[in-house]
């Protein structure tokens, strides 16, 4: 019984933190935010060179064969700095391919996805929040997909989409294929832009190796978003602490006032212990089939809900500055708005937790 990280896992986070602090400063992120492009290709190729694009892809296809928990640890660090790369959609899509793809599909795509030369993403949601396989209407006829998906992350840079279709199955669609139209939805989180993708008889190939791939990939995604939110919220608390230690009013550091100190301590209390919650969710989703789905949903609903509340308080703690575009807080805040909504809001996931418990 050991509920802690391995040395390799600690090193993974340390390495990534080193890279991110060097290559993705807050000012670099702000440039991306200002420009609204949502993607830093040099960051992505840097990460890919270090092997991050293929972390969860089996070694035989050129990846590192790591676990969901390892991916979650990466997401925590990416969340801390709001790193503008297509990692989340890419690993969700590769998870689906690894689990549901035929040997031929895997050999065709996984090596280039593992190397980061090709980018994949995942198209699940329909309309304003229909994330569940049983809600999907996108049709497939004669291998051609028609219909529309919303909130598809990084669809503008993706080469390959894993698309959820009516009946709960998944199909592969190349974005270059005829009949695929990508439209920017102007998402709030400019580090991970989202798109609507229309399919008009686009060529596809089904992922039908069996199993409930759409569900297991979604559950893994919940754990990853919980991790991302934990990272983003932890950084926001650090920013609040830093500000309270330097900002002076009434002749003293504001962090010396108990009103401020206690407010920050309460935020930390709401976030810091939940590191263990996302670890558990990410571990359980892979290793504890009887509890995995519920653990991931509980972690995602709890952490994103608490994190976004914390983020609002951090804005207020920064006073007028906190309300500006210039203040770094807004970027983390918006990262959390994505984490909260993607794959289901806390209320939707809590319904699911209650149902899964048999209440």
């Amino acid at each position: 019984m050991d509920f802690g990280l391995s040395e390799e896992q600690e090193l993974l986070q340390e390495t990534l933190r080193g890279f991110v602090s060097k290559e993705c400063s807050a000012s670099r992120l702000r440039e991306i935010f200002d420009a609204g492009v949502g993607h830093d290709s040099s960051l992505w190729s840097g990460l890919a060179e270090m092997g991050f694009a293929g972390l969860n892809i089996p070694e035989e296809y050129g990846g590192a064969g790591m676990e969901i928990l390892d991916l979650a640890l990466v997401c925590e660090v990416l969340g801390e700095s709001g790193v503008p790369v297509p990692f989340f959609g890419h690993v969700m899509a590769s998870l689906a391919l690894v689990q549901g793809g035929s040997d031929e599909q895997k050999s065709r795509w996984l090596p280039s996805l593992a190397a980061g030369e090709k980018i994949a993403s995942i198209a699940l949601c329909e309309a304003e929040g229909e994330w569940n396989p049983e809600q999907w209407q996108c049709g497939v006829k004669g291998g051609r997909v028609f219909g529309s998906k919303s909130f598809v992350p990084s669809a503008d840079v993706a080469d390959l989409l894993v698309v959820g279709v009516a009946g709960g199955g998944l199909v592969l669609v190349e974005t270059e294929a005829e009949g695929v139209r990508v439209e920017n939805l102007d998402g709030i989180d400019r580090s991970r832009p989202v798109f609507r993708v229309e399919f008009d008889k686009a060529a596809s190939s089904p992922l039908d190796a069996g199993g409930d791939v759409a569900r297991t990939v979604s559950d893994a995604g919940l754990a990853l978003l919980a991790a991302d939110a934990f990272g983003a919220a932890s950084r926001l608390i650090d920013l609040a602490v830093e500000y309270a230690k330097t900002r002076e009013q009434f002749g003293q550091k504001i962090g010396q006032f108990q009103a401020v100190k206690h407010q920050i301590a309460r935020l930390a209390l709401d976030i810091e212990p939940s590191r263990a919650l996302y670890w558990y969710g990410a571990y359980a989703v892979e290793h504890l089939p009887e509890d995995g789905a519920r653990a991931a949903a509980l972690a995602k609903s709890h952490i994103t809900d608490r994190a976004l509340s914390a983020a609002r308080a951090v804005v207020e703690l920064h006073g007028g500055l906190g309300f500006t575009w210039e203040c770094d807080v807004q970027m983390g805040f918006k990262r959390l708005m994505f984490d909260r909504g993607f794959l289901g809001t806390p209320a939707v996931l809590r319904d699911r937790c209650a149902a899964l418990a048999g209440w």
Partner: protein, 401 residues
């Protein structure tokens, strides 16, 4: 990360379970008033109870192994069997003496505390010294071979049942606030020690105030050196906070809340089918599960000898658990409806908030505020988290301190 137990520990768990077949005691022995004590003694001999206390002080003297500790705790808890006492004597004094006591003190006091033959209370708070405990004024003046005690302690749980008290007294009024304090062991039968009960808002009478009128305590009853009492008491306080931050209790109480929600109705349907209640329950469970997993994380950090890696969650443990318990109790109270106007029975009060009758929940609703105050009130915990956990500047203190 691996949540499975290895074969060695599975085997140990089997050993513990086999031993626990002996509880309850067989036949008529089950009804003996000292049944728990008899079983506990067997547990010590078998190596499962008081595992980490050396045999010469009445413990089982086993090699330290936190995983085995955890297995024993889980299995004894599941069987409802009497394991390690969580009294103030066994839970707080014993670890403190093991760390700071003289050989004579360990031999004299530890065995009887473990066997529950001598009961202990804690003499810390005073009428003028609550959160600012180090301002305490109770005096202990050295006179020959004795300390002479004068002053008052308050909020002392179980003082009327206690044979002994461990407490903090000012031995050097000229030294600075923290440096003038010593940790003394006081026989409650000493002439000049007077205990008066205080009634709590639940109707219970656990609390007492204690008056010292020139009570004489042998100087050898000091733990640590004169003036070291503050440091010694910090160690005790850690043990107290660990006793309060108990994730099993959170989960059990949450399960009780679910049972309550199955049994009462909202608009003619079981409350558990009500969407807003289900949302609230899952929200609370988010905290419960966080408390459980965070305590696993802290536990592993301890087993690996890297407790500093879990410093922040450790600091937060007490407040996290008392806040969560309050959330659970508030939700339960909302389900009681008009029943929430009833007073708890004396059995409810004696059950310390663990009775799952309607009035038991009323008692629990009130009782849940107690742990938030005891062992360092929540506002103090927030100071500790802010200052020591996150390096925020300390509060302004008067220049004299």
């Amino acid at each position: 990360m691996d949540l499975e137990y290895t074969e060695k520990y599975q085997a140990y768990r089997d050993e513990v379970r086999l031993f626990l077949k002996g509880w309850p005691l067989a036949g008529d022995a089950a009804d003996r008033p000292d049944a728990a004590g008899v079983f506990r003694k067997r547990g010590i001999e078998a190596g499962f109870v008081c595992r980490n206390v050396p045999t010469e002080y009445g413990g089982a003297g086993q090699e330290p192994d936190a995983l085995k500790d955890a297995i024993v705790r889980q299995e004894f808890y599941a069987a409802g069997a009497p394991g390690d006492l969580t009294s103030q004597g066994a839970g707080m004094l014993v670890p403190t003496l093991l760390e700071f006591g003289t050989e004579a003190q360990k031999k004299r006091f530890i065995p009887k505390a473990l066997a529950d033959e001598e009961r202990w209370c804690q003499g810390y708070s005073e009428p003028g010294s609550g959160s600012d405990l180090a301002s305490l004024q109770c005096r202990a003046t050295l006179d020959g071979d004795d300390y002479v005690l004068s002053g008052q302690k308050i909020w002392t749980s179980n003082a009327r049942q206690a044979d002994w008290m461990f407490g903090l007294f000012r031995t050097d009024p000229s030294a600075s606030k923290h440096a003038g304090i010593s940790y003394l062991l006081v026989d409650m039968k000493t002439p000049g020690v007077e205990v008066r009960p205080l009634k709590e808002m639940t109707g219970g009478m656990e609390f007492n105030e204690i008056f010292f009128n020139d009570a004489r305590v042998p100087a050898e009853n000091i733990v640590g050196k004169p003036g070291e009492g503050w440091a010694v008491s910090r160690a005790t306080l850690v043990h107290e906070r660990n006793l309060i931050a108990n994730p099993n209790m959170m989960r059990d109480t949450f399960n009780d809340l679910l049972d309550l929600a199955r049994g009462v109705e909202i608009d003619g349907c079981p409350a558990l089918e009500d969407r807003s209640l289900r949302q609230r329950l899952v929200e609370i469970e988010g905290y419960v599960r966080t408390g459980e997993t965070s305590s696993m994380l802290q536990f592993t950090a301890g087993v690996r000898g890297e407790p500093l890696k879990a410093m922040r969650p450790m600091m937060m443990g007490k407040l996290y658990s008392t806040d969560t318990m309050q959330m659970i109790q508030k939700c339960a109270y909302d389900l009681l409806g008009a029943g929430g106007m009833l007073a708890p029975t004396s059995e409810d009060v004696a059950g310390w908030g663990r009775n799952v009758t309607a009035t038991g929940w009323v008692e629990a609703y009130i009782f849940s505020m107690g742990p938030s105050i005891a062992g360092g009130a929540s506002n103090i915990q927030l100071n500790i988290i802010g200052e020591r956990g996150y390096g925020l500047p300390r509060d302004m203190r008067p220049p004299s301190s």
